[in-house]
Amino acid sequence: MWAFVVRRLANGVLVIIGVSILTFMMTVIIPSDPAARWAGVRATAEQIAKAREELGLDKPLHVQYWRYVTGVVHGNLGTSIRTRQPVLDDLKAYIPATAELVITGMIMALVIGMPLGIWSAVRKDSWVDHLCRAVAVFGVSLPTFWLAMNLQVVFFRWLGWLPLGGRLSGMIEATQAIPNITGFLLVDSAVTLNGAVFWDSLEHLLLPAITLAAYPIGLVAKQIRSSLLEVFGEDYILAARAYGLPNRLVTYRYALRNALAPTITVFALCAGYSLVNTFLIEAVFNWPGLGNYSAMAVITGDYPAIMGITLFVAVVYVVLNLAVDVLIALDPRVRF
């Protein structure tokens, strides 16, 4: 088992190196000249040549790559053209809001998707099953940003229950001291016992989090259903049923535990996808996070920011998948 974990970790490191090469190659193939952009619109040919030298663009590719990698390792992801700040500082500023959104959404996906999938498998081919499968297939067929807009129409315009967007109301922001400990407003306001901020941020979080959860709900439910059905066909389940053990016990203690591994893998995949989905969701809900920053970077053609985000999200995604594989390998039933 440990041999597997070590091998998997080594493979993860290789993949991250590969990711950095691919990201670097992308910056090389940009059609526009970074040196010209760096030097400014009215730069002379001489100034551009000087900028090229300063940026190291006159060096051979492998030297440039080495420069890029050492820079990244030291936290230098370049400077955003739009905000004129180091990309890493921008990322740090925007990550907490996005993390809060993604984590809440993924928890929702679990809380809704798991029971749906279990229910669906237990009552296979009943109306419940059909309904759950319909929800699942709709969840993966909906354009995220369209769902977001429709939720805004229903819950903001028609019902008036929830705010349109943002993370806090202007009123709350003006009158309350906003705690900043972890950067997660829900946690920070709960810890400082600030009820007004807590409720306000919860109201703002609800719609974007549901939008984010729609896709993973479908995938999680589908996966749980199919792996549960597979496990239900095993002899030991038949044996447990033959002993007359209650259904609840058979389902939750015997079957579900053995059906979880593939679901965890799918879940990690979803978390990675959700991180990218925030590009669209945060743009619609005007959520001040990484996704909104990325959408702005895309719109304004802010290449250093785009490449920094791409590298960051890809690394998170690789690490997430790695963590899941290692987690599953720690299960003593799994042998390699």
């Binding site: 590969g18 990711v19 691919l22 910056t27 067929s141 315009r157 743009a283 791409t310 999200v313 890809a314």
Partner: protein, 303 residues
């Protein structure tokens, strides 16, 4: 297997032809038996017809392509404008209809391009093995360590804004899935007796790959490709929504939704109809894909 000799050659050919017809008939039966799959296939059929006949059906074809009529801006749905009009007074029904053409084209071109890159690489990796296999698969690993939407956004942003670039970007994010899929099937088939037999009688590797391995490993790829059709349409809409794909005044659904965003609180129909069109299309392809999976699954086939 069969008895050698000239007399036997005619019979198996005929049986082969009959078998193909039988197989197709059986597939059609399996499709009809499953209501959801039937619905999926029917919707796809209707969409293709709508896309082909768009210039005939659309009441305002010139507006679909960009002509404006400011006197009719943001009108709600009526008999004159079934889906209402947009902020430039263009008939949304016509635009959504023309959008069907664009979306189906995107699906065909992107999936086609991804297959054209991914399938040969997967065949070669699986059949040749060794260092070449290792090299191709490590490259796919790197591509697969990006969420597909992220890679598509990054590449599209770097290539510059246009629908063509967006399609190239999506195909670049997509091909490794097919490579991995087909390689897996080919590896499991490489040592089968019929391949060994072909090798023994001196068949060229290229012939083995194209004539023996390819047809026998295509069914999972076809299932995946039909499922991907929907995802590709969604991805391209997402790129357009971010301003990377189609450019105004193209009637691409994602782009229409992107402009609708500025008006959706005053004109909810503006975003509703193009969104619905997209949901129906993606759903239909998902149903078709699920159905094809069941049809090609040997477990269902044997019954």
């Amino acid at each position: 297997m069969s008895t050698p000799g000239n007399t036997a050659t005619a019979a198996p050919d005929e049986a082969g032809g009959n078998r193909l017809v039988r197989q197709l008939k059986y597939s059609a039966y399996l499709i009809r038996k499953n209501t959801l799959t039937t619905i999926g296939f029917s919707i796809v059929g209707v969409l293709i017809v709508l896309a082909l006949l768009a210039p005939v059906i659309a009441p305002y074809p010139d507006q679909a392509l960009g002509a404006t009529d400011m006197s009719q801006a943001l009108e709600s749905p009526s008999l004159k404008h079934l889906f209402g009009t947009d902020e430039m007074g263009r008939d949304l029904f016509s635009r959504v209809l023309y959008g069907t053409r664009i979306s189906l084209q995107i699906g065909i071109l992107v999936v086609g391009l991804a297959l054209a890159i991914g399938v040969p690489l997967g065949l070669i990796a699986g059949f040749v093995g060794g260092f070449i296999d290792e090299a191709i698969m490590r490259v796919t690993d790197i591509f697969l360590s990006f969420p597909p939407l992220l890679l598509a956004i990054a590449v599209a942003a770097l290539l510059g804004r246009s629908l063509t670039n967006a399609m190239i970007a999506i195909a670049i994010a997509w091909w490794p899935w097919y490579t991995r899929l087909i390689r897996g099937t080919v590896v499991s088939m490489r040592e089968k007796p019929f391949i060994e037999a072909a090798r023994v009688i001196g068949t060229s590797p290229l012939y083995i790959m194209v004539k023996h391995l390819l047809p026998n490993s295509m069914s999972p790829v076809i299932v995946q490709a039909s499922l991907d059709f929907g995802s590709v349409i969604l991805t391209s809409a997402a790129l357009s929504f971010l301003g990377l794909g189609a450019q105004p005044p193209e009637p691409e659904w994602g782009l229409i939704l992107s402009t609708a965003r500025n008006y959706f609180l005053v004109a909810p129909w503006y975003s509703f109809f193009p969104g619905m069109a997209m949901v129906v299309t993606v759903l239909a392809f998902n149903l078709v894909g699920d159905g094809l999976r069941e049809i090609t699954d040997p477990k269902t086939r044997r019954l």
